[in-house]
Point group: C2
Chain length 207, copies 2
DNA sequence: TGGCAAACGGAGATGCTATCTCCGCTTCTC
DNA sequence: GAGAAGCGGAGATAGCATCTCCGTTTGCCA
């Protein structure tokens, strides 16, 4: 009567269902450590299964990436919500960026989804649609508070992520990003001594 | 008697010498526009020559990249020297970064050499060895001047370039980098209201 | 428990792309 | 004008990722 697996799919044999989960778990690890360029063969081996099995469950790699990516969206959104709840807008904004950057720093696959081109860009757009409504008001509040310089725009935030992600990608140092995020945050705070206005921001969506 | 071409190489037939130059010029353009991933075949076609000719002049792509890269070093160093001559240390430092970032922004091949891994990293190290002695004193002077925050380190500069390069790479917008370089520079200036100290910098050379 | 459908495994077919070679033909040079 | 130097570009070679096929194993239910 009950459906142990997702609905809309004919129920799998017990071993098949187990293997499906194994594949998803393996994919999460492999994508996290080696990025989206990993092959389905890699994932299958890491799950202790044959390639054929992988291809029975997922028609191709994209499908598997999509499946894994569901998780990522939730984790990213959770970060944003948590940070948005902060009563101090500036602190909330900074914390929000820090959270997301931290997620990215530990997960190469996530970085590639958040910063990449092609399919990755479409996925990233999906996150944006869920995150933007949460974070945009935070930006306004931080400006009213006088902490965030007035010429910062919402689209600057993904660019910050991009830059910070590049640091981790290139160096492999797991915590170095914190230093440069701090510099960027300090650069976005209003200064008592004023600043020249920022050069123009992204024309449309930057990624 | 005179050697019209570089010394140390048996003189080439006139047409061969011309083709060699054509190849170098084509390589500069192709690498600039399409990055180092372009093939020797691409370069040859762009030069209006056959692949065979390309391989007679350069044993492989690496050799060609090295040849083209000589130019790049000189241009980058020229930037640095020009900016170092600035009497105002902070302004000189900022201008120096801006110059290099501008070069990078117009040249995908240069970006890949400056920011890439593998062979590219070794080449980039070569630039560093020539640039660092010029720029390091500038950092010290800018700190003494009180404009640059004291916890900035020399190795932060290549990281800035990295981040700024990532902006251009991802967006393709040719001037967007200016905005984020400005934010980074503002983040590196000392603030009248003080700042928390920066998280630790790169352990060794970051790239 | 027997038997059959479902699922598995993994070698290898397929397709793609980049690197580099080879040799008949062309162009310079003396 | 003859011999050497250089050219062109088809195609050999190699590497790699995707996905298929089918003989074998496993779970399921009567």
């Amino acid at each position: 009567m009950a459906e142990p697996a997702e609905p809309g799919r004919a129920p799998l044999r017990r071993d098949a269902e187990l293997n499906r989960r194994r594949l998803l778990a393996a994919a999460r690890e492999v994508f996290r450590d080696r990025g989206l360029a990993a092959t389905l063969d890699d994932v299958a081996r890491h799950a202790g299964l044959g390639v054929g099995t992988a291809y029975r469950h997922f028609a191709n790699k994209e499908e598997l990436v999509d499946a894994v990516f569901e998780d990522m969206i939730d984790r990213v959104e959770a970060c944003a919500r948590e940070a948005v709840a902060d009563p101090d807008p500036w602190h909330g904004l900074a914390a929000s960026l820090e959270k997301v950057c931290e997620l990215q720093a530990h997960d190469r696959g996530l970085r590639e989804v958040m910063l990449g081109t092609g399919k990755a860009a479409q996925r990233r757009a999906l996150v944006d649609r869920r995150i933007k409504p949460l974070v945009d008001p935070l930006i306004d509040r931080a400006k009213e508070q006088g902490a965030l310089r007035a010429d910062v725009e919402p689209l600057d935030l993904p660019m910050i992520q991009l830059m910070v992600g590049a640091v981790t990608d290139q160096t492999g140092e797991p915590d170095l990003w914190r230093r440069y995020l701090r510099i960027l945050l300090d650069g976005m705070r209003t200064r008592p001594d004023g600043t020249e206005p920022l050069p123009p921001g992204p024309k449309s969506h930057p990624l």
